[in-house]
């Protein structure tokens, strides 16, 4: 079942979707939900799309079973996607003429309940009846989600909604138990905490603000130093100061904020200060589409900053990745004393999914710590030249050792130098860290046919849609598989080369206009994709987009014959 709820900003779509998702989860369904919001507080057009079912659902699709339209614009925007046998739930006052319309006097019922603002809850009541859900489950969620003083009118509203329609479906819930329902931003934030986060600084910027809100709300609970900085330059320089002083630090922003952080990214590189930088991507350049999604910061994050230094970029693929990989990023940054960039995007940050509960212990110990020799504070060298390139890192104030860091090139004790010899030694020392890191890079995840004729490559949050598209095509008899990258820079190439050598055609599937993954792969391996399925309208690639994109190349049909 695929439900779309559309209305204006300020209509309470977010709240309603949250209650509906929770009700579906509690009813025992797998749920996947996305948000499509405009950059405004009132008016315009926003929608939430909730997909749920008996089988795990991990991506969104286009075709709708139910459309709930609060206003005419929502109907006009989405009616074409509503199946012929689908159901349109709307107020008759809107004057919509459509065979699929189930008119419910939403506004009247809401007002009768005590407030026009209960309209969303009236809808939930109606949906519960239509879908055959237990009304008590929905009521229990309402009780958890709403303040006491609003509860009574909302209980009235949900009952009025429930009584306003007849049962249409008798959905059988698989009674899935034990799953958790959360957004990508929540998963990522908790992953950072699992990874040992102690200091977080950020300047509010969509779509990364939800991380700042989350860690602020939980700062006392987890003893986190959280600071809203005056700008992104301050945010990252604070994080580096905290990191120098011994705290595991992270910053979160979107592309524009990351652009401001770039000089300090280089400082993290030369001063070897561990830091995690989360870029929740949105379409650029400049302000771009502030509340929408894109994967166009890949090459920017891989190569940003003057000078040369080791870094790592991890693209998180889904909610589980957001949790585990952010925890891993915190630990890798610390182990290698490098900046680690985590690429997420608006789509993942704002979408909610039911997933298997996360294993905190596993996340907290996902990186094998470095075996370090004991350090004698008396002759401590912060930037000691070592075989691994990793030097001992002491917390200032904890021992008699003096810790010095410098954005200038420096000697082993951290003192500014212009020595040609030391310069080369230090550049090489820093670069050597990548040799060790290479041993623990994660190869891309593979899904699909055992020896695919068509190979797709993708990265980050398109993973779930790519996996489902591959599954759809496999069922149609197409020999196809996909490699989906999480660790993306340095680029792990073993599996890539192995699958590539046997495939007849290779396509990249990306949420950007210039096929940045394909370019990165060509740069690192010399291999060139045949074509790319690209989307850059700010709306996330759906399963259908991928299937249709491949059909347009012709190759898929040929292979399927």
């Amino acid at each position: 079942m695929n439900i779309c709820i559309g209305g204006a900003a300020g209509d309470g779509i977010e709240t309603m979707a949250g209650i509906l998702e929770k009700t579906l989860q509690r009813s025992g369904f797998h749920v996947y939900s996305m948000r499509d919001f405009m950059s405004r507080i009132r008016g315009g057009h926003n929608f939430a799309q909730i997909r749920f079912g008996e089988e795990p659902v991990t991506a969104h699709i286009d075709a709708l079973d139910i459309l709930i339209a609060y206003d005419l614009r929502s109907y006009e925007e989405h009616q074409a996607r509503l199946k012929p046998e689908g159901l349109l739930l709307a107020d008759p006052q809107l004057g919509i003429e459509d065979k699929r319309l189930l008119p419910v006097a939403l506004k009247t019922l809401a007002k009768e309940s005590g407030s026009a603002r209960t309209i969303g809850v009236v809808c939930i009541g109606a949906l519960a009846k239509l879908l055959g859900l237990e009304l008590d489950t929905a009521k229990a969620v309402l009780k958890e989600s709403l303040p006491e003083k609003l509860l009574e009118m909302n209980i009235t509203a949900i009952e009025k909604g429930y009584d306003s329609v007849e049962k249409k479906h008798a959905l059988v819930s698989p009674k899935v138990e034990g799953q958790i329902l959360l957004t990508g931003a929540e998963a990522l934030s908790m992953g950072a905490i699992a990874g040992g986060l102690r200091f977080y600084s950020a300047y509010p910027m969509s779509p990364a603000t939800s991380i700042l809100n989350f860690v602020t709300a939980h700062a006392e609970e987890f003893s986190l130093a959280v600071e809203q900085a005056e700008d992104e330059i301050a945010a990252i320089n604070m994080a580096l100061g905290a990191s120098f002083a011994g705290a595991k630090a992270m910053v979160g922003t979107s592309g524009g904020g990351f652009a401001l952080m770039v000089e300090a990214l280089g400082l993290a590189g030369i001063a070897e200060l561990p830091v995690v930088i989360v870029d929740v991507q949105r379409p650029g350049p400049a302000t771009g589409l502030p509340t929408r999604t894109e994967q166009s910061d890949l090459l920017f994050t891989c190569f940003a900053s003057q000078g040369e230094f080791p870094r790592m970029v991890i693209a998180v693929r889904n909610h589980a990745d957001a949790f585990y990989q952010t925890a891993r990023a915190m630990q890798l940054a610390h182990k290698y004393q490098i900046p680690v960039l985590v690429l997420s995007d608006q789509y993942l940050a704002d979408s909610a999914a039911t997933v298997e509960p996360f294993d905190v212990k596993k996340a907290a110990s996902s990186v094998k710590p470095l075996e370090q020799e004991a350090v004698d504070p008396a002759d401590y060298l912060r930037y000691k030249i070592t075989d691994s390139g990793i030097s001992p890192m002491l917390v200032p104030g904890k021992t008699e050792a003096l810790v010095r860091s410098d954005s200038d090139e420096h000697t082993e004790d951290g003192t500014i130098t212009e020595s040609a010899e030391v310069r080369v030694q230090m550049v090489d020392k820093r670069a050597r860290k990548l040799d060790l890191l290479a041993e623990e890079l994660l190869e891309p995840e593979y899904v699909g046919s055992k020896e695919p004729e068509v190979l797709l490559i993708g990265f980050g949050t398109t993973h779930n849609a790519i996996a489902e598209a591959v599954s759809v095509l496999n069922k149609r008899g197409v020999s196809i598989g996909a490699l989906s990258f999480g660790d993306i820079y340095p680029l792990p190439t073993k599996e890539l080369k192995r699958y590539w050598s046997k495939a007849k055609a290779v396509y990249s599937v990306e949420q950007n206009a210039t096929a940045q993954l394909a370019r990165l792969v060509r740069m690192e391996t010399g291999l060139s994709v045949d074509q790319s399925v690209l989307k850059y309208d700010g709306r996330q690639l759906s399963v259908d987009d991928i299937v249709h994109g491949l059909e347009a190349f012709g190759t898929v049909k040929e292979v399927s014959k």
Binding site: E220, E221, S223, A225, N237, G246, P357, E400, L402, R404
Partner: protein, 282 residues
Amino acid sequence: MSNGVFHCSETAWCPGCGNFDIVNTLTGVLDDLKLKPSELLLVGGIGQAAKLNQYVNANGFSGLHGRALPAAAAAKMVNEKLTVIVDTGDGDSYGEGGNHFLHNIRRNVDITHFAHDNQIYGLTKGQTSPTSDPCSEDRTGACNLSKPFNPLMIALAAGATFVARSFSGNKEHLAKTMKAAIQHKGYALVDILQPCVSFNKVNTFGYYKEHTYELEEGYDKTDLQTAVLRSMEYGPKIPIGILYQVQKPTYHQQRPAIYDGTLMVDKQLSEKKLEALLAKYA
């Protein structure tokens, strides 16, 4: 050069530079305060003054131009036992770092900021700084066609709890002002007038000696209006001393639930708490 534990090593400053008086006075004050080098963190941005932390026997962080304050404030947030002092120039403090200057005052983190104010850009060889004097007909060298920046008045307006000015050539005054600033609980700014012997031919040692005067005995440093008026005094007569000092809750004191006595760097993840939080999403 100080003979104490904070001895100053060989520097890259020009002979006669005001920075020598500042670093020597500072190391003397630090010895006086009986601090251990490992308990001190000196932070700088980029510039001649910002190199100070390189020359003193202590923990040191030389970050980016203009960005000393955010790094210093955050280091203090997570590692409260460190005495954190920023030594950096007027360009770093008020130009490139202007936004951080404003907002770190509002935070009132317990750090000390010594702004070496030579009213010129030294390391880049003589350009106008935010605090360069206004241009006049007979003025030679770098001067401000834009209105000069008044760091003390701005610090007062932003809510600073310790605002002072001193002069590198008046070592006794500098020492007592530095000491008071370090001992102050909260953000303390000392704008230190300092000659640049290579590029500033107007605001020389002699110039500052002639124009500065110490705030009178009985000056009420707790009165904001008086302080604002005195901060506007600049030109033929330049007041030096603590213009304003009051005690307000520091950054840490305002967040007792988070900064509860255990250093942030010593805190550990509670796996149980995180598991409990995750369970709420069931």
